[in-house]
Amino acid sequence: MSEPPLPPPITEPSPSSSVTEQCEINVEIKRVVEAILFAANRPMTCKQVQQVFPEIEQPELQEIQSAIDAVKEDYRFRPVELKQVASGYRFQVKKELSRWVSRLFEEKPPKYSRALLETLAIIAYRQPATRGDIEDIRGVSVSSSIIHTLLEREWIRVVAHKEVPGRPALYGTTKQFLDYFNITSLNELPTLQEIQELGMSLDESSLDDPLSDNAQQPKQVKSEEQKTTE
């Protein structure tokens, strides 16, 4: 390092006569170092921090290191910590808080489409059913992505292939499907008749849009099942 002797500290000049102790911290340097480490958005080595300073004001590496150590110490008991990783120092959320903070990044699950719900219901009630069967009943084509989603969630499975040209898959519901709805057998689902009667007990507005948010919905209709859907 052919660095010229350290320029005076940023604000108050230290008495040049005094012997600088190894761990004496220059408060202003420390402030800048802390700000840099917070703003960097990437791990920073001691050297990299040093180079953020304009050339004529660059503190020595040792000073930067002392500042980093001091900052690290300051945050020892805070929810974030200054941590040294392979490529330098970075601030990170303390591990024991990650359970809380991770919820920040949980994306709100999307809602399944009406078409998916219908497809699932048809498979449940009409299994084993091919895609063609579903399309016949719904009157519109069923997108591959719906079938794919249902297979991926393991709510349906291919139980066989129908021996007609193209050998379409026959879908049936799974054990996971039953588990998800907390029933032990399809028998526990309402019969078609009951479903039709279910309609009578729902008020008109909910029939038009039974999944609309509970805005004008009478509470007893929505029942306790509704609450998890946000």
Binding site: V80, R90, F91, P109, V159, A160, G172, S185, Q196, G199
Partner: protein, 277 residues
């Protein structure tokens, strides 16, 4: 085009040639009151944000109050600028010419004797112009104030902490409620009723469930014994369900029921294309 512009620019630097024709008269000297070296002029003109900006510049340069603009003088200067801009081949927005016309109109009006009745009818164009200049100046200054506000990327730096450890959070899957599915199905049934040529028969669901189960059992095997499809411990009810499921599967041509010879054990296998014929 650009060559032309360069040519004109160099011409500006040479004092003798004619810059422009003003009111039909050759104009070979920059107006004294412009105070701008010719080569700087081009840059400057280019930075005007429009006729109001230019006008404001002309007024402010002389420390004049917007409300007391000496229309004659300003008009003269403004038109001189416009001429020069034309000579310099600066792209001249039509708005500049509109303003020149407006200024000329105001100037000519002021030469005419006042007609009180007429003025009541229509607004004094000079007052309108003054109002516009004031409003523009206000917004221009507001823009400068906004530019001075501390802002992200320049004065404000967000703080970031590492969250890579938190990133691999399991993506939540959508939830559905049984009721949602049933209501969806109810709609389907209603539509089916309206279409009426479709028929959804009303087998018990346990039969439907069993149908899937039987098909799946057959998947691995070439064929299964009829008796293998019944689960003894399910009792009478289970036997009935299985039997109905087999009948339904057969009806829907999803399975074949085979008896190779009289009194031989009945076997069941997945329907093959061959038996369809």
């Amino acid at each position: 085009m650009s060559e032309n512009a360069n040519l004109d620019t160099t011409e500006v630097l040479v004092p003798s040639p004619v810059f422009a024709m003003v009111n039909g008269a050759p104009f070979n000297k920059l107006p004294d009151d412009l105070y701008i070296p010719p080569d700087a002029l081009e840059v400057l003109l280019d930075t005007f944000e429009g006729p109001l900006d230019l006008l404001l510049y002309l007024i402010r340069r002389q420390n004049l109050d917007v409300v007391n603009i000496p229309i004659a003088m300003i008009t003269h200067q403004y038109i001189a600028y416009i001429q020069i801009m034309g000579v310099l081949n600066l792209e001249l927005a039509a708005e500049y010419l509109v303003m020149a016309a407006l200024l000329a109109e105001i100037k000519s009006r002021m030469l005419l004797p006042r007609q009180a009745e007429a003025e009541e009818d229509e607004e004094d164009p000079r007052a309108t112009l003054i109002r516009r200049l004031q409003e523009y100046e206000l917004m221009k200054n507001a823009a400068e104030e906004i530019d001075l506000l501390p802002r992200i990327e320049r004065d404000i730096f967000a703080v970031g902490v590492d969250i890579s450890a938190l990133r691999d959070v399991e993506q939540n899957l959508p939830d559905i409620q049984l009721k949602e599915m049933l209501l969806a199905f109810q709609d389907v049934l209603k539509r089916v009723e309206q279409l009426s040529h479709h028929h959804i028969t009303k087998e018990p669901l346990s039969v439907r469930e069993r149908m899937s189960a039987i098909l799946e059992n057959l998947k691995g095997a070439d064929s299964l014994l009829f008796s293998q499809l019944f689960i003894r411990k399910e009792g009478r009810h289970g036997v009935v369900v299985s039997f109905l499921a087999i009948l339904e599967l057969s009806k829907e041509r999803l399975i074949d029921i085979i008896q190779s010879e009289p009194f031989a054990e009945i076997r069941v296998r997945t329907a093959t294309a061959a038996t369809d014929n």
